[in-house]
Amino acid sequence: MDHFALWLAAFFTLGIYSFLYKDNPWYKLCEAIFVGISAGYWVVTLFWDNFHGKFWVHKFEDWWLWIGAALGVLMLMRLFPKIGWISRWALAFIVGATSGLWMMNYFSSNIMRQVQDAVLPLFGTGFEASFGAILANIVVAVGTIAGLVYFFFSKEHKGVFGGTARVGILFLMVTFGASFGYTVMGRMSLLIGRIDFLFSDWLGLIR
């Protein structure tokens, strides 16, 4: 990397971290550049990859692509305040399709699949699971049921029901703790990567 590029990258890196001290002109400058550059990057990417790559190249091969183009044009009607309301048609189309798609995809992959995985012989096939496996099976089953009870909206969390809901939230908390602990490691690696850039690539202080 040439000197200018190195200094530029270092300038931006330090500029972003200066925000940790407080908001300052350096950060504001980096932020302004970042917003401009990334918005432009997405304009370019969406134009070439989506509009050109997905539509323009194939426009005479696949008639159905024109539905997308028509929706896009409807969307652009926003630019003309008088007929801007027509863009709602495109929005309605997208929202409808999203709802339909997500509804069935989540239904099969989350509900059906998860329920299926939860239904299993707790003591193993042929009653021969190890003690650890039996314990694990029971804990998973109890945790799942209790977690579902927590999300129940139709009943006040009182009595036995409330107790189960409480067990459910405890399971949820363990889940969150596990994801937190898990994420920390990856995040720290990112910072180390940046510091390595500063002190190794840029300043040459470390090997």
Partner: protein, 215 residues
């Protein structure tokens, strides 16, 4: 026209996309792929609106000489620079030696990596400030995080190396991930899916129409 037509569109399109799940026959089997293409095309058109909005606000700030208008000017210049360079470069704008790639590698990339990595600082400050064993719930969250964190670095291995194989911190971390975590994830996933199903039903049936706005 303004209110009724969109509702009808949502209902018809939504129902079609539900039904396509059960019909393997053409053209229903293609709807999924088509929609992703359509959405890509619409998003490409819509970003014109977004970009114009960004430019309009920035230009207004500069023209009216609002405080910190200089930064808006920088945004405008940066935006125009990369857009022009990228659009002029043609389809192969991502190629290794283009000006677009240079800009990407030396501005976009360090900025985005640095912003991503700023998370490490916040993880530490949140650990110091917010992760408190206030009650049983919070305590469990903490303990789970604690053991998973310890179990995933060599330090954790060293700390518990006196224990027999299968009972070390590493194994505890794996157990937490595999057992209680699975139960919690499963309950959350089923709940979320039901939430999505019911939200979708409301949208398709036409009870939910906030996103369409008023008249």
């Amino acid at each position: 026209m303004r209110r009724a037509v969109p509702l009808v569109i949502t209902t018809i399109v939504g129902a079609t996309f539900v039904i396509r799940y059960f019909i393997p026959h053409y053209p229903f089997n293609r709807l999924n792929d088509w929609f992703s293409d359509w959405f890509a095309i619409v998003a490409a058109c819509a970003i014109v609106l977004g970009a114009l909005n960004l430019m309009r606000i920035s230009i207004q700030k500069v023209v009216r000489g609002k405080p910190a208008w200089g930064y808006s000017l920088v945004t405008i210049v940066a935006f125009l620079l990369i857009t022009i360079v990228g659009l002029a470069a043609g389809r192969e704008y991502r190629g290794p030696d283009t000006a677009f790639s240079w800009l990407y590698n030396n501005t976009y990339s360090p900025l985005s990596s640095s912003m991503f990595a700023i998370l490490a600082f916040f993880v530490a400050s949140a650990s110091y400030r917010a992760f408190r064993a206030r009650n049983l719930e919070a305590t469990l969250l903490l303990l789970a995080a604690f053991f998973v964190m310890l179990g995933r670095v060599p330090v954790g291995y060293v700390l518990s190396s006196f224990m027999p194989d299968g009972y070390r911190l590493t194994d505890l971390a794996v157990w937490i991930m595999n057992v209680p975590n699975t139960a919690g994830q499963r309950a959350i996933m089923i709940g979320i899916a039901l939430g999505i199903v019911s939200t979708s039903v409301r949208v398709i049936v036409g009870i939910e129409r906030t996103y369409l706005g008023g008249d």
